[in-house]
Symmetry: C2
Subunit: 636 residues, 2 copies
């Protein structure tokens, strides 16, 4: 509201019952009367702090303080009010629950509990889980930020602040970071080969790609700041420079990114690490007390696993094994496996990978301290692993004793028209069961070793077969897994048990879940792929038309961010129901991006899922959202 024009004994004010920035319990606000001095130059009057009102209108102020208390007592929340004073008499114009920062929200909720105004459930329910995100990532130093001006803006793809020197390749990012430099990785777009560079960078800036591009998804998973799709950048990779807003930036120049707003700054802005205050922990503890679903994390490496543990993850719902293959010491072996002509050659290459995979899994089990880990077997199409650089192709040809042309022919033969719907997932294990054998050996041996080292942990490996669409397909792959696992466990004289389950990410799997559950000991809903197949669009391509869909209000939110309960949700409900008809104790979880989205978490609770799994930085959000869902609609 605007401050009006009035006499000396009149005034108008806005106030909060508590500080909306910090949550501190103190009346905050401003009050303005005609009597206040006018700025001669600007011609405006500056309102007085609300506390000064006590001097001018002691009676009205006392009454106002009383009203504040009445309103807070009534609404049991911090109030944002407007009022006037006329001839010394107070008139309340409006009140509503006040907007507040995430930190204030936590403090206010805790204070209200301590004041006996609300109970713990109400405190948990009143926090917007989406706001927690800002508390979990580094932020810019507020004073330094005020002095800075953005040179561009793009999509806020992964929250947090980053400041570092510009590098243009993943290798450079790694190398510079290894020598202690903070770097920001700037790429046209990222691909799985860039993972190590992305890990090394403070932040990632891409020219192409939307909120669900590779860079965005991976960065969110890692909790690394990312700004994506900055089409205004004129990239000149060859010369390691780019132009933005008329200025040329070279390798080594400072750049700062705000992943929460999408702002890009052509200078260094210092960042401060996020701190998790005491109220945060109290709210989270209450959330854990009331939620009825477990919260796991998606993590492929011990670093992410440990981060997620700190945020309260109770296990890993999705450990992707392919990311482990991209590292420099493994990629040659996987390439040899792909370019093999015979089962024997493939087995020889896989034998090289086995101890590395086993080591990976041991490290993961150690990091999770015996908590459950669902390990997904190899999923992506094999062409994601083959070399594209001439030198790498020559190296591979030499390793394999083949001609360069032979290797190129093999690579060309792997081309697919629609890789998302191609030779991937368990289809790889059906055609090359030796891959499943190797991965099973690595998982089981790792679990046995870790169990021996930590007798106090109860290791039950969970093996997840991806992309199943037909019961016989799962049955075949499971038979390979079971034969391999049982032999190793028997040879070790152990009585360790393990579970074999599947991802439900193909519509047909959901439609035939009663059948699938005959073999699967658990379902994990892979809602990224399930959304793609159910909508019939690939998230890599949907960017070209989704804007028109938002503009025409055909879709109101990104179905890859917020679960589509009408369509995809119907499939999930069907699969949950059919699956439990067959196997009443079937464990159900979700491991798509949606596992960290509050409205999707609520849907999962209502559908009877046992757990949600999300990226480490979303674990607190999921814990809170799960608690809110349970408070709103408790399960019997």
């Amino acid at each position: 509201m605007a401050f009006g024009n009035m006499g000396d004994d009149c005034g108008t004010g806005v106030a909060f019952t508590r500080n909306p920035a910090t949550g501190e319990k103190k009346l905050m606000g401003e009050f303005l009367t005609n009597a206040q001095g006018e700025d001669v130059v600007a011609g405006v009057r500056t309102p007085m702090p609300i506390q000064e009102m006590a001097d001018k209108f002691p009676e009205a102020f006392a009454q106002f303080e009383q009203v504040c208390k009445t309103l807070e007592d009534h609404y049991r929340d911090m109030q944002d009010m407007e009022f006037t004073v006329e001839n010394g008499k107070l008139y309340m114009l409006q009140t509503r629950n006040g907007k507040r920062t995430a930190a204030a929200a936590l403090k206010i909720a805790c204070d209200l509990v301590d004041e006996g105004m609300i109970d713990e459930k109400k405190a948990v329910a009143m926090i917007d889980p989406r706001n927690l995100d800002t508390l979990l990532h580094p932020q810019f130093d507020p004073d330094a930020l005020k002095k800075a001006t953005p040179v561009g803006t793009a999509l806020p793809a992964s929250p947090g602040a980053a400041c570092g020197k510009i590098v243009f390749t993943a290798d450079d990012a790694k190398e510079w970071a290894n020598r202690g430099e903070k770097v920001v990785l700037v790429r046209l777009e990222t691909s799985p080969e860039d993972i190590e560079g992305m890990v090394a960078a403070q932040g990632i800036l891409t020219v192409r790609g939307g909120m669900t591009s590779h860079a965005a998804v991976v960065a969110r998973g890692m909790g690394t700041c990312c700004v994506s799709g900055c089409g205004a950048i004129k990239m000149d990779e060859a010369n390691k420079q780019f132009e933005l807003a008329g200025k040329v930036y070279h390798e080594g120049d400072w750049l700062s990114l705000d992943g929460s707003t999408g702002n890009i700054y052509g200078e260094a802005i210092p960042t401060v690490d996020a701190s998790i205050g005491g109220e945060f922990k109290r709210i989270m503890d209450w959330a854990d007390k009331y939620r009825q679903m477990n919260v796991r994390t998606n993590a492929d490496n011990p670093r992410d696993a440990k981060q997620a543990m700190k945020f309260g993850a109770e296990g890993i719902g999705l450990c992707r094994t392919e990311h482990m293959f991209f590292e420099a010491d493994r990629i040659p072996a996987i390439r040899q496996m792909i370019c093999s002509d015979t089962v024997e050659q493939r087995e020889a290459a896989l034998e090289k990978l086995e101890p590395m995979q086993q080591g990976d899994f041991e490290a993961m089990y150690e990091a999770m301290e015996g908590k459950p880990i669902t390990i997904r077997f190899l999923d992506p199409p094999l062409h994601e692993f083959v070399p594209t650089e001439e030198a790498d192709i020559e190296q591979l040809a030499q390793d394999m004793g083949k001609s360069v042309q032979d290797i190129k022919n093999i690579i060309a033969g792997l081309h697919e028209f629609n890789p998302m719907m191609g030779h991937r997932g368990c289809r790889l294990a059906v055609t090359y069961p030796e891959i499943a054998v190797m991965q099973t050996k690595a998982v089981i041996k790792a679990a046995l070793n870790v169990q021996a080292k930590h007798p106090e942990w109860h290791m039950v490996p969970e093996i997840m077969i991806p992309l199943v669409g037909e019961i016989k397909e799962l049955k075949y792959v499971k038979s390979v897994v079971v034969a391999t696992a049982d032999e190793i466990i028997k040879a070790a004289g152990s009585d360790m048990t393990y579970k074999v389950g599947t991802m439900i990410e193909i519509p047909r799997a959901a439609l035939t879940a009663d059948e699938i559950a005959k073999e699967a000991e658990f379902f994990s809903f892979g809602t990224n792929d399930l959304t793609q197949m159910t909508f019939g669009f690939s998230r890599d391509d949907a960017g070209k038309f989704l804007d028109a869909y938002y503009e025409k209000k055909i879709y109101e939110s990104d179905p890859f961010a917020r679960l589509d309960q009408t369509g995809v949700g119907r499939l999930i409900e069907m699969a949950a129901k059919l699956g439990r008809q067959t196997r009443p104790d079937l464990k159900l979880g979700i491991c798509g991006e949606h596992g960290g989205d509050p409205s999707s978490v609520e849907f999962c609770h209502n559908t009877g899922l046992d757990y949600v799994s999300c990226s480490p930085f979303r674990v607190p959000i999921a814990r809170l959202a799960a608690a809110q869902a349970a408070i709103k609609n408790p399960r019997g």
Copy 2:
């Protein structure tokens, strides 16, 4: 059974009660006794024709004739029997319904009706619809075929026989055919640009691609012989030659293909056109009497439409409009449309296309003589239309007043990771509604013109919006169609009505069919895409792993040929039920490849569909299969 070794008064025989090749009612078979002369050189005895048995064993033969009649009367079908005679006494060893050719099956069924042995329904039920295929395509001259030896064999992708001179490009096929040559088109694989050449060819041979490759699907649709996936061919396109079984074949050399067996002959074998005998018509008339579903055809041009009418099609269930765009006089305009920067430019390009499309539709309506035609709006991703040859790119740049680099950038920008799940179907109409406007104008104007010329026909245009996954998407496109159509109809002073419906080919459309039916006046199940999305594999890529799936008995039939009733079928049943809940008179049909597969047709009958639509050469098969389904399980 083998003929045994026995004395003079003993013998053993096999016989059919009717001729299994022609159906003629005459005892056919062979009889062998020890008394028969042995071939001195080969050391074998040749059995005597069964009729000669009357002389040797008159009593047993008379008894056998009596038994034959008893057996036929009992089983009411032609019998295939084994028997022995011992000491002049007849012993029957086995009897079963005999296998027969398609022609014989028709004649036997009709004769049995005429003999009062069976009724019309039984006659219809006893014909295997899949066998009809062989009656509907040209065949090799049987005597010439006996003398020929195949030089290779590959997949029998589309039935019939073809004989012609080898050509290697679609353009050559067209040119040679125009000057009266019969040609066989040999390609590595075919693409939509080859359509005109495929139409001009007697048969098509491809090196790559399975039973559902572009060549196979299009050839089956056209009723043209096709042998696909002959990996044994060493192709040398540059020199217009290939090598097969050690011999080099050049352009102009004779080649013969058998699309029913997959055999390839390196010589000319004369073909004879199929003739549809009197019994064929009788059986089809009975089928039409008992079936409860309509049978339509998928046809994109008047030639196919007329062919389908001859085979009894009652309308067109799927008229794809994009095939019309590939013709030489249209492709420049569609390319200009794609490379436009503004709505105005796009509209200008579309204006050039509109009269051509209108002409196409008028010709289709004329060909179908007023029978209903479901016209599907533009479906494929736009990159299918853009030029790949440098000269064509230059031409386009010149037409558009753009630089070659500009055009190349536009083409590169159209690249998609998963085109099947990309910017296509109604997504094109959402982003570029002017395309839907142009197509609506063309359909409605064509219908009005044809109605004016043929007042006796009742024209009700059916406009089908493809790839819908969300009600609001259909609502938006429908609003564009309705606004355009109503204006034209009003301006013409006509009271013509029209229908707007959708394909159900995205799982989400099936799952939300209750919503979709609020806008859609009909559903047509696009089971090709629905199968791809439900299984999560693209049929262009599935060839790489499906063999392993068949080998391991995970799948028993090709889900693109035979409808997967367990998964895809569940979606169809759901959509039919949900759709009719909203709109009880909702018209339901199927227009995927499955519309011509007997087991799938039976499923469609049982699910309550109003019609199936299939390629012209499958129309008789669908008519018969629909009748059989109705006889087996009549609808109330």
